[in-house]
Structures are given as structure tokens and as C-alpha cells.
């Protein structure tokens, strides 16, 4: 199991001439990677905020989303013309993959996490490690999936635009906008709607929320569904720009998105978004200097920020009452 980003992720090695165009180009790559982290971190942070557990299996939902999309696209093969799909088919593929991953996330919660809700949180973390191991190795052991990487089908045909010498594709724009819009929508959902109020209540005090007539199981299931669905979307985004899917892709992406969620203040939706973009940009720029350093820089930023602001950028320090 590798926790290192694959080499094809970072195209730049060695310091090139610093020009505005180069910096802009790095920024585009940073935002692109950051939007993948941000979408994944949103799910991480919501689950943490409501259930209070670190779901280490969250990165594997991304893998399931991407692999699922690959196989569903195979099913829709007859509709494709020269390897490209009509818009309707793309919509169907993405919808099915997203709903399926959300359903798997709900199932995982019901089977593995729900019985442990009142146990110390380390127990839930160990179970999550087991779930992550299962979700990685089960597809790997299935004969028709296996451990080999597969080329991801082209769902969107990208158009390339030129901005001040840096090139940006339509896929990248969709990804970045999608991450921002999802963040805003989730933020509004939690702040304004009825289910959002229920989520906040469960997050604050499960017992009291239960006494007020909130169906805790339902609220937590919905949270896991949203988290799983967002992970699938992020997996599709990732596989669209780095077109390769394999069973191990979830582990290091999951780790990095976890770091982004903590960086922004875990449990805070806007923080997860901010953390994801900061991490993505920092990683791309650091990789331009040295590829190993690019992986470590996220963790170094994390430690520095936690030492200055112990609850992350947007997080609030809670005072323990005795």
C-alpha cells in the first residue's frame, strides 16, 4: 500500500525560470489538486463534526466512486461515439456512481460504526482502519477488478483556454467551481435548513437531540451519504485530470484531505475548503522544488499552523468544563 503520490501527478521537477506564466500555471495545478482535496475534506469534516470520529476509510470512498464510474461507463459503452459520451449518459453515469458510493458509505456506517457509537473514539478509529483495509482489498481480490491500474474513460472533452500565458482546461474550471459551489451549498444546508439544524443539534449533544425527537440514526446516515457522494464526485474529478484508477488511489488522497480538514479546523465546512486549496497550492509549488519535499510540505504547514492555532485556521478552541 503506497501513501506517496504517484509520479505522474507532479509534472514539474527542477526549478524552472520563474515567470508570471509559470507561477500562474502552478496556481492552476494547485487549485485543481486543491479542489480534489477540498471535496474529499468536506465529507471528512462533516462526519467528524457530527459523529466525532476520524473515518480513515473516507479516502476509499473516493476510490470506490472512481472505480464504480469506470465500470458504469463500461456499461454505457454502446452509447459512446469515438470514446466520448453524450451529456445525458455522462449525467447518468455520474449520478449512479455518486448514489452508489453514498449508499455504500451509509451501509458501512450502519454495519461497522453504529454499534460503536458510545465506545471510546479510538475503538471507532481502529474499526475504520479495518474497514479501509476491507474496502481496498475486497475489490483487489475480485478477479474482474484486480490490483492493476486502468485508464479512466474521457467523460468530458476538455477545451483549453489561455490566460496570461498559462493554460487552463474546461475540466479544471468545472472542478474548481464545483468545489466552491458544493462548499457554499453545504454551508447553507447546515445553517438554514431543517436537516441542517438537526445535524447541528446532533453534533452538539446526541442525547439531548434524541430527547428533542430527532432521529439520530437518520441524521448520521444522511451525513454519511453526503460524505460518500462528495467523495465519489471528488474521485471522478481526480480521475478526469489524472486519468488512471486503481484500488490504492484512495489511501494517500484520503490522508492529504484529512490534513486539509484539520488545517482548516476539523468540523468546519468553510475551513475544509480553505485547507484543501492551501494544501493543494503549497504542494504543487513545493514539488516544483523537490518531489519528496512536496509530499512533506503539507505536514510541515499543518504542524506550524496547529502550534500557532491549536484548532486549525477556522476552528474554535473549546474550553473544557468540569
Amino acid at each position: 500500500m503506497s501513501f506517496c503520490p504517484p509520479a505522474h501527478l507532479f509534472i514539474f521537477t527542477g526549478m524552472e525560470a520563474i515567470a508570471l506564466a509559470t507561477i500562474l500555471q502552478y496556481l492552476v495545478y494547485g487549485l485543481q489538486l486543491g479542489s480534489v482535496y477540498a471535496l474529499l475534506a468536506l465529507g471528512y469534516t462533516m462526519v467528524y463534526g457530527i459523529v466525532g470520529m476520524i473515518n480513515t476509510a473516507h479516502g476509499d470512498f473516493l476510490m470506490i466512486g472512481a472505480l464504480g464510474t469506470y465500470f458504469i461507463a463500461k456499461l454505457f459503452d454502446s452509447m459512446s461515439i469515438d470514446g466520448t459520451y453524450p451529456m445525458l449518459a455522462v449525467g447518468c453515469i455520474i449520478l449512479i456512481a455518486t448514489v452508489m458510493t453514498g449508499g455504500i458509505a451509509v451501509g458501512v456506517e450502519a454495519i461497522a460504526y453504529r454499534p460503536l457509537r458510545n465506545k471510546p473514539r479510538m475503538i471507532a478509529l481502529i474499526t475504520a482502519v479495518g474497514v479501509s483495509m476491507f474496502l481496498t482489498n475486497f475489490p483487489r481480490a475480485l478477479p474482474f477488478i484486480g490490483p492493476n491500474p486502468r485508464p479512466f474513460p474521457t467523460l468530458f472533452t476538455p477545451k483549453t483556454f489561455n490566460v496570461l500565458g498559462a493554460s487552463i482546461t474546461s475540466t479544471q474550471i468545472i472542478m474548481i467551481v464545483l468545489a466552491a459551489v458544493t462548499m457554499l451549498a453545504l454551508d447553507r444546508l447546515v445553517a438554514k435548513t431543517k436537516i441542517g439544524a438537526q445535524m447541528r443539534a446532533v453534533s452538539m449533544d446526541k442525547d439531548a437531540a434524541s430527547l428533542m425527537g430527532i432521529n439520530i440514526d437518520k441524521v448520521i446516515s444522511i451525513t454519511f451519504f453526503i460524505g460518500g457522494a462528495l467523495a465519489a464526485v471528488s474521485g471522478i474529478c481526480y480521475a478526469s485530470v489524472y486519468p488512471q484508477v486503481e484500488v490504492y488511489m484512495g489511501s494517500w488522497l484520503g490522508n492529504m484531505s484529512f490534513v486539509s480538514a484539520v488545517l482548516g479546523g476539523i468540523g468546519d465546512i468553510r475551513g475544509a475548503m480553505l485547507g484543501g486549496f492551501i494544501l493543494g497550492i503549497a504542494q504543487i509549488f513545493a514539488t516544483a522544488i523537490n518531489s519528496t519535499f512536496g509530499y512533506a510540505v503539507g505536514f510541515i504547514i499543518l504542524i506550524v499552523i496547529l502550534l500557532v492555532k491549536p484548532a486549525g485556521i477556522m476552528g474554535k478552541v473549546t474550553i473544557e468544563k468540569v
Binding site: 501513501f3 471510546p120 449533544d205 512533506a296
Partner: protein, 344 residues
């Protein structure tokens, strides 16, 4: 280890029984090895089980007895492994030193590895102990990954390719000796006044602080001791495998030790031994399943956590790892109902 009631035993047997048991165990294993009933592969698995016991027991000191969350323990292990391997392979060229000097060099290497890990443990402990709970866990995770990335950058020790040609000094005798020494040391530590301070911090940090326990000092001490043991374990690991590379000490390895600890039962040294030994052997036993091996391993792990979440041993100790002060065990570790969120 026997499970007879400690109170009915002769005092002399109680005192020297464990030592005698260890010697008998060692002799039996060596005889079986001579008779080739235990082949080289079984021996290798046993050596790794010993290293894993050391790692799990040291992690238990931090997570199980002091109540801190360290999820980057493999970082300390890698520091120890590299520290020891640099001493034995680079400072004293292993193939050019006389036979008699090998063991002192090996021990010196282990000591240096342990000290490096302990110093780094203190360095990471001092600033990060103002963080609590999950945030501390995340800093230790980040620490483990940073160590791994830095080791990949240092070219003289092999960079990402790793170090090869480390002499395999660590035979069954040394592993066994260090396991017994560590368990003995940890048992005595946990029942000393230091250990009571650790347990007080675990049970309620604010109350411990109010009772005049210098919580920061004891937390750093716990981190340092655990890091030292992990460093020694890393040194042994390097001298068993004779090849180390930074990527083998990633988060996966740290997660393995957490799994051993909590599946065996945290807050119990017996649990650490049982968890580490059983879960080291289990994947090897399942090897006939080929690719389905890790699937079944994962299912067993989830089932253990669901149906016996206090761990296989669940906070109990065998008599030899328990000192008479039974009051410490009156309350089962996971007996209290706790709400996951209001735990902090």
C-alpha cells in the same frame, strides 16, 4: 506464561517463576530449531512477533496508560532503525570488525537508536502537548510522515532506496531478552508512582492536575520512554531484516501497531503481547488464501472490534505482569459508559 492464581504460589516461585519460564521457553524453542521442527520461516515470523510486541507495549504506555493518542509510532521506529543501522554498518564497518566486537557494537547501535528516538520524542512532545486529543494524534501522524519524507531526502543513508547490507545480529536470544526486559521494565514503571501519575492523567487530566501532578512533565516522560523503546525495537527490526527503507515506516505501519494494541486490549501489557503475537501470526496463517488473505484479516479485525471492543484481553493482566496492588484494576478500563462526543 501461566495463569495460575498468584496468591497460592510459593513466594520464591512467584519471584523467579517468570524468569524460569522464559529460560524454559527459550531452551524449548532452540531445541525445536535444532531438530528443524521450527524452520527458518517460522523463526523469522517469531522474530517479527517479538519486535511487534516491543512496539505495541511501548505504544500502550502512551495510548493505553497515559491516555494520549499517538498514531505515528512508526516514526520513532524508523529513527531507531536508521540510528542503529548507521552505527553498525557505517561507523563500525560490520564486515571488518572482529567477532568479539560485534555484540558491543550491536548494543551500542541499539542504544544510539533508542536515544535518537527519545530525543526526537521529547522535541515533538514539548510543543505539541498543549494540543489535546485528536489534534495531538494528528501532529504525531504528521511527525511520522515528515520523518519518512526527510529520510527519503538524505542520500548518504540510501535515500528512498533504503539501506542494505545491515548485519543480521538480532537473533532469537536478543529479541527475547529485549522483550522480557521491556515487559519487566514497563510493569515496574506502571506500578511505580510515575505509573500512577500516568494512569491519573489518562483517567482525568484536570483532576490529576488539581491533585498536584505535573501533567506536562509526565506526558513528555511517557512519550520519551515509549520513543526509546520504539527506537530499540526499530534497531532490532533493522538487524532482523538487514534491509530498511523509509517507505516501510509509513502510516500503514503505525496503523498496524494501533490495531495490535486495541485488538489485544489497551491498558494491559498482556493485551499488547497477545495482540501483537496473534495478529503477526494471523496473516501468515491465512497465506493460503492468496489475495483474499487481507480481506479475511480485515473482517476478523472488524468483528473483534464490534463484538469485543475492549480488546481480546480487555484490561486484565496475567499474574506475572501484575503487582499485588489490585486496586488499580478494580475498574475495568472500558466499563464506563462514555459518550463519544463529550469525552474531551
Amino acid at each position: 506464561m501461566k495463569t495460575t492464581n498468584a496468591k497460592t504460589m510459593h513466594p520464591l516461585l512467584r519471584k523467579f517463576g517468570p524468569l524460569l519460564g522464559c529460560i524454559v521457553f527459550y531452551v524449548v524453542i532452540m531445541l525445536l530449531r535444532k531438530a528443524d521442527i521450527i524452520n527458518g520461516y517460522y523463526m523469522q515470523v517469531m522474530l517479527f512477533a517479538g519486535v511487534n510486541v516491543l512496539m505495541t507495549a511501548s505504544l500502550n504506555l502512551v495510548n493505553g496508560f497515559t491516555g494520549q493518542f499517538c498514531i505515528g509510532h512508526a516514526g520513532f521506529m524508523s529513527l531507531g532503525a536508521y540510528g542503529a543501522a548507521v552505527i553498525t554498518t557505517m561507523v563500525f564497518k560490520s564486515n571488518s570488525i572482529p567477532e568479539a566486537a560485534q555484540i558491543p557494537v550491536f548494543l551500542l547501535g541499539l542504544l544510539c537508536g533508542g536515544i535518537v528516538a527519545a530525543i526526537v520524542g521529547a522535541l515533538i512532545g514539548i510543543p505539541s502537548l498543549k494540543l489535546k486529543g485528536d489534534y495531538l494524534a494528528i501532529v504525531t501522524l504528521a511527525f511520522g510522515e515528515i520523518v519518512r519524507a526527510l529520510l527519503r531526502l538524505i542520500q548518504p543513508i540510501g535515500g528512498a532506496r533504503g539501506m542494505i547490507g545491515i548485519p543480521n545480529y538480532a537473533n532469537f536470544f536478543w529479541i527475547m531478552l529485549f522483550v522480557v526486559l521491556t515487559l519487566w521494565l514497563l510493569r515496574n514503571l506502571i506500578y511505580s508512582s510515575y505509573g500512577r501519575a500516568f494512569i491519573a492523567i489518562r483517567d482525568n487530566e484536570i483532576a490529576a492536575d488539581a491533585m498536584g501532578i505535573n501533567t506536562t512533565k509526565y506526558k513528555i516522560m511517557s512519550f520519551c520512554i515509549a520513543a526509546f523503546i520504539a527506537g530499540v525495537a526499530g534497531g532490532l527490526y533493522a538487524h532482523v531484516l538487514s534491509f530498511i527503507q523509509p517507505d516501510s515506516f509509513g502510516f500503514v505501519k503505525s496503523a498496524d501497531y494501533l490495531v495490535y494494541l486495541y485488538a489485544g486490549g489497551s491498558g494491559s501489557l498482556t493485551g499488547s503481547v497477545v495482540g501483537a503475537v496473534l495478529l503477526t501470526i494471523l496473516p501468515e496463517v491465512l497465506r493460503f488464501l492468496a489475495t483474499w488473505r487481507l480481506v479475511l484479516y480485515a473482517i476478523i479485525l472488524i468483528a473483534v472490534m464490534l463484538y469485543r471492543s475492549e480488546g481480546l484481553i480487555g484490561g486484565k493482566e496475567v499474574p506475572f505482569l501484575r503487582i499485588k496492588r489490585s486496586s488499580l484494576y478494580e475498574q475495568p478500563l472500558f466499563g464506563r459508559k462514555k459518550n463519544g462526543l463529550s469525552e474531551e
